[in-house]
Every structure is written in C-alpha cells, then in structure tokens.
C-alpha cells in the first residue's frame, strides 16, 4: 500500500502524502503551489476558468483531457501528468494555442483565458483532421467567456490546430508515456489516518472490504457531483473512497447482446460505445456538461446519485438497461428502472457499489429517439430529458417505452401513454391522440428555476409528437433546430 499519491508535473514526479481528503486540485495549485495562473470563476465546474489538462495513458497511449480543477479532488490525479497554463511556454516562446490567441485577439479581460488555453491545448493534442468551427464550439462549450463573444477564440483554435502537432509535449510524448507507465502500479493508496482518509483501492476486493468497514465513507468517481458538496455546501467528508483506480471498474466492452459499461467509465469513454446503438445517444451525451465534465464524470455516478434530472437514466431506461451492484456480501443485477424508488431513495444497500450497466442493442424493428431540452443548448441541466423506444411492425406500434427526466422525483416512465400508444398507426396521426393526451395528464412536473410545470408538460407532449413524426418519417420536414436526424441507408445518423 502506498501512503502518497504520485503524479508527473513539469517532467518531474511529485509525491504528496499529506492533504485533506477533500482538498481540491485548484486549491492545491493556488494555495499550496502558489501557481496562480489557473483561475477560479465559479468553483462548481460550470465556467471552465480552472481548466487544466491531465495526461493519462489510455490503451497505452498518452492522451490529454481537460478537467475542471475546482471540483476535482487532488487525490484523483494519481498516476497522471498535470499540465497547467504555466507549463506551456517552451524554449521557442508561447505555445501555438497561446500564440494564436494573442495574434487573433482572443482575450479581453483575460480571466477566462488560462482555462481556454488549457482546453485548447487538449484540442490541439487531439489532433483532429478537418476540424470545423462546430467541433471547436462543442469542445469549448464548458469555457465561459463574457467578453469576447468567442469568435476570435474559435478562430485561434482553428489556426493553432491547422498545422498538426508540434510542441514540446508531443516531442516528449514517448518519454512521458514511459514515465506514466512507471507510475501505474497495483497498489492501494491510503493518505491520512483511520478517521480521515483518501483511499484509492486498486481492486474490487479491497474496495468492497474497505467500504464494508467504512460504510459511511463517500464514494467518489468523477467528483462532478461530490466536488460541489465540498466547494458549495462546504461539507466535511472525512472518509473518501476513490473508485478511479479500481481495476476493471471502468472497463467497457460490447458483445452480441449489447454493451456493458463499467460504472467508472467516463462519459467520454462511454459515448464511444453507446453511439453505436443510436446516434441520438451521441447527440445527447455530447451535450451533457462540457468536455471537462465528460472527461471526469461517469455514467455510474449519474445513476448512483439518484438525481431525477440526470440525463443518462431516461435513455438507459427506455433502452431497457440493467445494472449490477456488488458488496462484500455478493452481487446482484436489476433493471435500472427499479433502482429508482422515490426522490432521494434508491435500491442500493449501505455498502453496495454500482459496478456495471448493461445496455441491450436495438432490434431491427425498434426505433429510438432522445431529446434533451434546456434553456441553453450546451452545458445545461435538462428541463426535460425524454427518451422513446418504440417497437414498430408494419407501421403499427407494438410496444412502447418512454422515460423522462425532470418531470418527477425520479426518472419516470409514462406507462399510460405507453399503453395508449400500442396499436397506433404511424401513418395516422389521429391515432396518436390518446397517447398525447395521456402523457399530458399522467405527468405532474414541478415548477423551478429551470422550467415551469406547464412548460415541462407541454414539451413532454411536444416531444412525443416529435418522436412520432420523426419515426413515421411522414414528411421531409425539418424537425430539429440543431442538426437534423435523417434516415439513411445503413442506419440513422444525425447531421
């Protein structure tokens, strides 16, 4: 067992053996290292000013991902390369992304700029051929700038990325890879004592044992929820068990039946698997949080937090996903839908851990649609998240599953509307009316700052209608303001 975390910083290995279990990476940088280039704009993962890059090995290759250091716990960076804005200047001066931002007037007040620099650094290293404005927009949607209006920042991104990789980090990638590889071990990490600790087990067995011993400990996966308990609710979490090092917990694979996601898989990883089920999954996942949130946040966390407004559960429920839970007493599986019992209440025992999610593929006669409705297109919590899965035979709905987020205390199916839809003909919109009326009366959503009850009800109905219109493909009408879902030969895609 190790009693210190280790990470790579400016080519050197840093070891830290004394820190509070909930010290954030940002506080470490600004208060301990006194590296003040990284800024705090919100302390809750929503503005991107605190963005730093983490270098990690994925399948043996070095990749850089942007993360919000304000809500990341320091211990989570074990085994990573930590890159901050101070590190980019090389012997030849500014980094290409810095240079482009300067030349194209990408900063005004400059407070957002270090965060943009670091996020663009990761974009630069993604080295994507044929990068478009829209690609850049999606990549930087988690970085708010109140001054520039973004146009020059996007221009700078395109400019910097045009000529391919040519920086110090790329030049020493092999060296970094071997240093990072050397940091990977099968040790458990325990920083602190028995009363206050940051514990990062490396195996299921140690995880379940320790959680069994300390059922009051807080499990942390990506910390995109837990981080806010620390920075906003100022909660004291004396015992933290970090799931990110558990061997196998993030593993995803696909087989005949479908896709199995490790609970610890980040959105970024899960998206790569889920998109093969239906293009709408990719569309929605690419709007969950931001690039930063998707690099840290996990599908498991999105389920385990029990939130009624999480985006994954409605989609996964509509698809008929199952989850697996484990504890030191054994394992069990259950349909995801029955995991959510009531607001704040889930079917999970005190020391159980969510370990995986199994998502079946769509059969040939199944049609899937998912819609995320928000005030702002990107990086916004849904007012309503809706997912539909219809089994259609000869133009008639044989079976319907619909699940919604944001309309009740839990992710909810609309069973009366589902029943009413069975037997409807796709060709005959008149036959949809019962289902449309049913859905309006069976869901009684709340009013809050994101949307009124009336609006939520209106869009639930509107979205069912939209899904039916799209699935029936009765006209060539455009149905989406962003992109257009089209039926093309060989499957659906969203342009």
């Amino acid at each position: 067992m190790r009693t210190a975390i280790r990470f790579l910083r400016k080519g050197q290995i840093v070891e830290l053996d004394r820190f509070e279990p909930t010290t954030t990476l940002l506080d470490y940088l600004r208060l301990s290292e006194r590296s003040t280039g990284t800024k705090e704009g919100c302390g809750e993962g929503d503005c991107g000013a605190c963005t730093i890059a983490l270098g990690r090995l994925r399948d043996g290759k070095l990749i850089y991902e942007p993360v919000n250091s304000c809500i990341l716990l320091l211990g989570q960076i074990d085994g990573c390369e930590l890159v901050t804005v101070e590190d980019l200047e090389g012997p030849d001066g500014l980094h290409p992304v810095q240079k482009a931002l300067v030349e194209l007037h990408g900063s005004q007040c400059g407070f957002c700029t270090p965060g943009f620099v670091m996020n663009l650094f990761t974009l630069y290293h993604a080295n994507t051929p044929g990068l478009t404005r829209q690609d850049v927009n999606t990549w930087i949607a988690g970085n708010l700038c109140r001054c520039t209006g973004y146009r020059p920042i996007v221009d700078a991104a395109l400019e910097a990325c045009r000529d391919g990789l040519n920086d110090v980090f790329a030049a020493r990638a092999m060296e970094t890879e071997s240093k990072l590889a050397a940091l990977q071990d099968a040790q458990d990490i325990h920083v602190g004592d028995d009363e206050r600790f940051f514990f990062a087990p490396s195996s299921f067995q140690r995880l379940l044992e320790t959680y069994g011993e300390h059922p009051e400990a807080t499990l942390v996966s990506g910390s995109t929820d837990v981080g806010l308990w620390v920075t906003k609710h100022l909660r004291d979490l004396p015992k933290v068990i970090f799931l990110g090092r558990v061997n196998g917990l993030s593993t995803c694979y696909e087989d005949e039946q479908g896709i199995r996601l490790g609970a610890g898989a980040s959105y970024a990883v899960a998206e790569q698997f889920l998109k093969s089920i239906d293009p709408d999954l990719e569309v929605v996942i690419s709007r969950i949080g931001s690039k930063q949130v998707r690099a840290s946040g996990t599908v498991g966390g999105n389920i385990a937090n029990g939130s009624p407004i999480g985006d994954m559960p409605p989609m996964l429920i509509a698809l008929g996903a199952e989850i697996e839970l484990q504890s030191n007493r054994g394992r069990r599986t259950l349909p995801l839908e029955s995991f959510f019992i009531d607001y704040g209440k889930q079917d999970i025992a005190e020391n159980e851990v969510l370990t995986s999610i199994s998502v079946p593929r769509l059969s040939a006669d199944e049609q899937f649609r998912a819609y995320k409705i928000t005030k702002r297109f990107d990086q916004d919590i849904s007012a309503v998240m809706a997912a539909f899965c219809l089994t259609v035979k000869d133009g008639v709905v044989e079976r319907a599953r619909m699940a919604f987020g944001g309309v009740a205390g839990i992710p909810k199916r609309a069973s009366s509307a589902e029943a009413a839809l069975v037997g409807s003909s796709l060709e005959d919109p008149g036959s949809w009316q019962d289902a449309l009326n049913a859905i309006e009366s069976e869901l009684v959503p709340l009013t809050d700052m994101r949307a009124s009850s009336t609006y939520r009800r209106d869009i639930v109905r509107g979205l069912l209608e939209k899904a039916l219109l799209e699935i029936s493909a009765s006209s060539s009408q455009k149905t989406r303001v962003h992109g257009q879902r089209e039926l093309v030969e060989g499957g659906a895609h969203v342009s």
């Binding site: 919100c42 030349e103 900063s107 620099v117 109140r146 005030k375 009408q477």
Partner: protein
C-alpha cells in the same frame, strides 16, 4: 471579421503610425501565459486574513429578532467577527444617497443584505464559520417583482417624464393605433472574476486597497467614510479587472469596505473575495422592466404620437437607478422620430438586491421598447418591419428627440442601415424565410434588421471629466497613468496608443501603469462608454503639455522655430534633418531643468442638461450601428437557434479596429444572452434561485451564429472633436442583438398573421413556446 477589413479601416484612419492600428491587448501575452496578475493572484503579505460576508439564508425581509454569532466567533481559525456597531465611521456604502448600509442590525430589506462579516485565517474557515450564525427573522411578505411594487406603489425615486405635444389626444385621431405590453428581464453581469478587494493597513490609519472596481475614487470615498478617516488616508489601486460590465461601478464598494473594516480591526492585510453564488446573490443586476407601448400612426405606418411607460425594478435602494432610468427614457426613441410623445418612468422599490449599472445603463431597455413598438406597428399593418422602421427614422426637419436634443447625424444612420440591408441581403432572405415557413410546420424562421443609436456622455454632466499623469524619464521612457480602469475593453492600450502618438515614441516606450487614486484623483467611473473619449483626451493633453515644453526648449536651444520641430519614431527631428533621440532629448531637457511631467485634464465640451426642465443637450454625439439576424424556432419545444448575424457599426475613425471589433462582437453576444437564455428567477420568498452558472445561462460558443459577419462602418470621422475623431464603442453593441429578439418575434408572428406575439424577454425556449401557444389561439401581447 475578415483581415482585409481591418487593413482597410487602418489605412483609412491612421493619423500616425500608432493610432488606428490593430494592436493586441496590452496584456495579451500575460493573459495566455497566466501571468496577468488579478488581485487574488497577488503575493499575500505575511499574516493575510480572509473575509466572508454573513447574511440571512432563508428570508428576504423582516425584523431581525435574534442575532447569535457566538458559534461563529468560536469557529476554528476565526480572528474577528464584525457587525454594524463595529463600524468606526458611517455605516453606508451607497454611491450617493446614503441608503445602502454595509451591515444591518434591525431589519433586512432584501435577501442577501449583510448582517456581519467573519475574518479568519483561511478563506474556507471564514466561509465555514459564516454558516454557524443563528439569525432569526420575523419574516414579512416581500415585494419581489415589478408588478408587486407597482401594486404597492413603492418607489426608490420620484417618477419622471418627457412630454412633447398631446399624444393622448393625437392618438385618438390617428388612422391606426397599436398597443402592447411586455416584460423585459434583468441580467447578471457574470464577470468571470468575481468581486474582490484586498486591504493592506499602513501607518497612521492609512489604508491601501486593491479593489476590482471600475470606480476607484468611489471605493476610496466609501472606505474613508466607513473607517471615518480622511480620503487622503486611503489609496485605491486597480491594475485590471477580470470583467466588470457595470457590475463593479457602485457595487464594488461594499467588498472593499469589508476588507478595509477587517484590516482596520485586525491590523493585518485582509482579502475579501466573494464566492460566485454569494456574488450573484449579493450584487445587483440590470434592471428588469414592465413596459407598455402605444402609438398612433397614419396609413403608411408613420408614427404620429407615442406613449411609453417604463416601470423598472430598482431593488431596495436607489444606487444608480436615477441615471439608469433616465437613460432608458433617453433611448425609448432609439432612431425614430416621435412627433408627439409621452415617456413616463417609474422607479420601483422592491425587497430585492439593488439593481445597478450594466453595459448600456438603461439604454438597452428603452431601445427595446422602441423596437417592440416598430414590430407591433408592422404586424398590425401587415408591413415589413424594416419598412416601418425606415419610415420613422429621424430625418431632416424631423430630428428632435423627445428631450430636445437634435440628431445631427441622421444621414449616417440611414446610410448605415441601407448598406447593411444590401450586404445582408435582407430582402432576398426575407423571401427565403417566407418560403421556408410555407413549407415547414414544426420549425419556423424569422428575420429582423434593427438599428442602434446610443447617446455618448454621462447624463450626470459633472462626471464628464478626466485626468491623466504622464512622466517622461531621462532614458526616454514614458510613464502613463490616467483615471480610466482596464476591465478587458483595451482602454489601457488605446490610451497608450494615443500617448505614443502624441509623444512621438514607439508604443513599447509607453509604460502602462495601474489606476491609482493617489496619481490621478477625483476620477469618474470608467463607464458610459466614455473611457477612451475622456481619458484618451486627458492623456493627450498631458502629453501635449510635455511635448510643448520640449519644443519650446529645443527651439530656444537650437534657435529654430517650433514649427520646424517634430517628435516621431522615438526621436526629435529638427528642421527635418537634425535628429535627437528621445533619450538624448530627455536627458538634455532635464539638464536644462525642463519639467518632464505633466497632468492633463479634460472636460467634455458642449454638453448641458437641465433635468428639471427636460432641456439641453445631454450627449456630445451618438454612436450608430445596425444588425440583421435570422433565427429558427421549434414550435413543439420552443428551442431556438440563431443562424446568421450581420453587423455594421459606426466607431468614427477607429483608434484600434481589432479592439473595436472585440467590443462589438462581445457586446453582441452578451446582449443576445440578455434577450434569450439569461433568466433571473426569484422564488416567492424573494430569493434569487438562478445564482450560479449551473442555473444562470450566459451564451457559450455554440450559441454564437455560424455566420457572424461584423464590419466597421466606413466613417468620415466623428463630427465632434473627440480624440482623433473616434467614437465610443463600449456599450452600443450590446443593443445590436435586439434584432435576434425581433427575429424570434417574427418567427412566432408567422404562425398567425396580424396577431401580436405575447413574447416576453428573455426569449427562453419556455417563453417562445408560451408565445407560440398563445398566438395559435389568437391571444395578443
């Protein structure tokens, strides 16, 4: 923005090699490398403490029955807890009216009003300690909305009106009348760097305050007042802000006061940096309004008479509401001639945080009313909204505003709009939009082209003054200081360009220095778009003074005429041939005891405003612009996307085209946020519930239209003698995106021709869907 436009503008404007060029922001390299120092980044002196503000968590108003801070005092790390009784001076941090207590002790008037502060060894300890307060309130029902306050007739300031003729009577005789009422939301500044102050105590009760403020002088006054010391004992410095937008004009005072009170009480340096949620709860926003517009017009849609009611939520105190609401009235005409008119303003008092300056300072709200009126006329009369707008533009003989100032550059407005109509292909696209709408039932498109005319000058006339301080050192370097503050707008660089031009040195020779109340005193806030107009001119005057002395000296010394001496490119050219480097010149002049420092002072000429009699000329000139926006909405969900925007904007002769374009684009996107996604939502208890970026949504990169063409209007220069004939650019662009809102309105209106959409601002998906539902059943707005 294309590079060739920048070049074109440069060539046209350049009065020298430095002014008119697209120099990058003075701190650009520091921004990108993380080395630009904001206050929280400064190296903390030994013993620095941290301040957190304490307020009542759940209630908005009522009598305080218990204030028990014993647990707060006992919390780990706590060094001091201060309340109203601990204030040595005056318990007020208002800009003028004396109605904003730093702390209250008997009753709270809004959610977030401070009761105490905690000073602790660490920021986290201070924040945690605050939570331990036990404060009980005999809660009363708060007045939250404009409607609440209208009903209760609660006001922070008296009503005010502009009147010309008898519009009420004229309207009755008009061939057509239209009428509309709507709500217009406020806006959170969301500067990326939150409110921040750092006070360092000195000897003899002196206090040095680093404050993220647009108004160092007012912070100085506030700190002196609160501590009960002379203004001379307090120095306020600000090198840069991480954004401000008006939110750090009057509302930076309180945090500086807290830091100074804490530093004074503990004798140690004290930092006060607000957490983002606190920042959004505790500081004021753009005023939201309920507006009624009504007009009578002839058969061609030309206006004969107008009545506009502007009712705004000011919050619990006056703050800057007088000037803001006046400016709303000054802009309720936008670019249109109202032959007879009555504009009435009510400044309503609510149990909410005091609303404050925000880019445009009320102007956007007034202008929005004018544009809603134009749309209403067009919809009711079945005309193209652009035709109605153009028919009502100010023109020769019809160029007097409701407050009596004449609009001299109406030809610029007309030419600019014509040019944009052409370049944006408005007419062709209008047809394409109609065709799209005929084919589509779920999605609908809309298009709109709207103008901007914005008055430049503080309407509080005495604020139109500025000072600068310039030193020429013996190595030929120039130290530049002035009263303007840098919040990202590039003021420091623009003024440096002016100074370099005047001094005849390269830009690199000019040292930009932090704004400091001990260098230039009695300054005005950097606001009202006036930063460059005022400070640039003051700096030029200071430079001219030094250059004048140098010329006189050289003329005597070399026995030549002053007319034969020129300072350019770091050297003095005497009779076109003899050269003296700036360094040699400075050294020589020094040895001959020539004074190489100067202050400069400027006051805007021509302006005069008699508020009581509604007479005079409040503005030196107007800045113009126009934009054309096209949107698509989803009638099933209310979702909306801005597809294309074209902007043409008048900055006179640009001092720095790149920085000007930056203001235009940034202002556009910020204004678009105000009118679309940014929603302030208060609960029934009077608490703001959208107090974090998780719930309050400013635009991201994806909200910016894919096609965003921004160009500078080819200007002959400001007809008024402003600095190098430039025009102010800070605020006017914020109003350009009214065209986005009008385009959304246009899309909704297409669903039922002739019916006024009930669309409120911001046009969130919810607001759009509501308007869609209403118009489908024929309900009117």
């Amino acid at each position: 923005m294309s590079a060739d436009l920048l070049e074109k503008t440069e060539a046209g404007t350049s009065t020298s090699q430095v002014v008119g060029k697209s120099y990058k922001h003075d701190s650009a390299e520091k921004h990108v490398s993380g080395t630009a120092t904001y206050i929280d980044d400064m190296i903390e002196p030994y013993g620095t403490l941290h301040v957190a503000p304490g307020y009542v968590l759940h209630e908005a108003c009522g009598r305080l029955t218990t204030i028990d801070l014993s647990a707060v005092r006992a919390a780990p790390g706590v060094v001091a807890v201060l309340e109203a009784a601990d204030i040595p001076g005056v318990n007020d941090c208002s800009p003028a009216m004396g109605d904003d207590p730093v702390f209250v002790s008997d009753r709270i008037a809004f959610h977030g009003q401070l009761v105490f502060l905690v000073v602790a060894e660490s920021r986290l300890q201070a924040r945690k300690a605050v939570q331990l307060a036990r404060i009980e309130v005999e809660a009363e029902t708060p007045l939250v909305s404009v409607a609440d306050a209208l009903k209760a007739e609660q006001k922070v300031l008296p009503d005010y009106e502009f009147r010309r003729g008898a519009p009420e009577a004229t309207m009755e005789r008009s061939a057509h009348t239209v009428k509309s009422s709507f709500a217009l939301g406020g806006q959170e500044h969301f500067y990326l760097e939150g409110q921040m102050a750092f006070a360092v105590p000195g000897e003899d009760g002196d206090m040095l305050v680093h404050s993220s403020t647009q108004h160092p002088t007012e912070v100085q006054h506030t700190v002196a007042k609160v501590l009960g010391v002379d203004e001379a004992a307090v120095t306020v410095e600000v090198r840069r802000m991480g954004g401000a937008f008006g939110g750090k004009e009057s509302q930076a005072n309180q945090w500086a006061a807290l830091a100074a009170l804490a530093a004074n009480a503990t004798g140690r340096p004290c930092k006060c940096r607000l957490d983002r949620d606190d920042d959004m709860i505790l500081t004021g926003k753009r005023h939201d309004f309920l507006v009624d517009v009504e007009a009578g017009c002839d058969a061609a849609g030309k206006i004969e008479a107008v009545q506009i009611n502007l009712n705004s939520r000011c919050g619990h105190s006056a703050d800057l509401s007088l000037g803001i609401n006046d400016r709303a009235m000054f802009h309720a005409d936008n670019s249109y001639f109202y032959p007879e008119v009555l504009i009435r303003s009510k400044r309503l008092k609510t149990n909410t945080v005091s609303n404050t300056a925000f880019r445009g300072f009320g102007g956007p709200q007034g202008m929005f009313a004018a544009e809603r009126l134009m749309d209403a006329i067009a919809i009711k009369m079945g005309q193209d909204p652009l035709d109605v707008r153009k028919a009502n533009f100010y023109r020769e003989g019809e160029n007097t505003t409701p407050y009596g100032q004449s609009v001299d550059e109406h030809d610029v407005l007309a030419a600019l709009v014509d040019e944009l109509e052409e370049s944006s292909e408005y007419r062709v696209r209008r047809k394409a939009v109609d065709a799209f709408n005929a084919e589509n039932t779920i999605l609908k498109k809309g298009i709109a082209l709207t103008p901007v005319k914005f008055g430049i000058s503080f309407t509080l006339t005495h604020l139109n003054q500025a000072g600068a301080l310039v030193h020429l050192y013996r190595d030929g370097s120039v130290h530049l200081n002035h009263g303007g503050t840098e919040m990202g707008q590039g003021l420091y660089q623009k003024v440096a360009q002016i100074a370099a031009t005047e001094m005849g040195v390269r830009l690199e020779k000019v040292k930009i220095t932090a704004t400091n109340t001990s260098k230039v005193a009695n300054t005005s806030p950097t606001a009202a778009s006036s930063g460059t107009d005022l400070n640039g001119m003051a700096a030029a005057i200071a430079c001219r003074e030094i250059v004048g002395r140098l010329k006189t000296f050289v003329a005597q010394q070399f026995e030549v005429s002053e007319d034969d001496i020129e300072l350019v490119d770091d050297q003095m050219l005497i009779c076109g041939k003899q050269k003296l480097s700036i360094k040699e010149l400075a050294q020589l002049a020094y040895e001959h005891r020539i004074h190489l420092s100067s202050s400069g002072f400027y006051k805007t000429p021509k302006i005069i405003w008699d508020r009581e009699r509604v007479k005079g000329r409040p503005f030196l000139y107007f800045s113009y612009g126009a934009s054309c926006s096209e949107v698509v909405i989803d009638t099933l969900t209310g979702e909306m996307k801005v597809e294309r925007v074209d902007v043409l904007h008048d900055v006179g002769k640009s001092l720095n085209p790149a920085l000007d374009i930056g203001q235009i684009e940034g202002g556009f996107v910020q204004g678009m946020g105000w009118l679309t996604t940014e929603e302030l939502w208060f609960d029934d208890a009077g608490r703001l519930r959208t107090h974090a970026p998780s719930t309050y949504k400013i635009p991201t990169a994806t909200d910016v239209p894919e096609i965003f063409n921004v160009a500078l209007y080819e200007s002959d220069g400001n007809p008024e003698p402003t600095i190098y004939r430039s025009k102010a650019v800070g605020e006017p662009p914020l109003m350009l995106p009214i065209s986005v809102f009008c385009a959304i309105n246009d899309a909704v209106a297409s669903l039922n021709k002739g019916v006024l959409p009930t669309l409120d601002a911001p046009a969130t998906p919810e607001a759009i869907l509501k308007a869609v539902k209403a118009i489908k059943v024929g309900e009117e707005g």
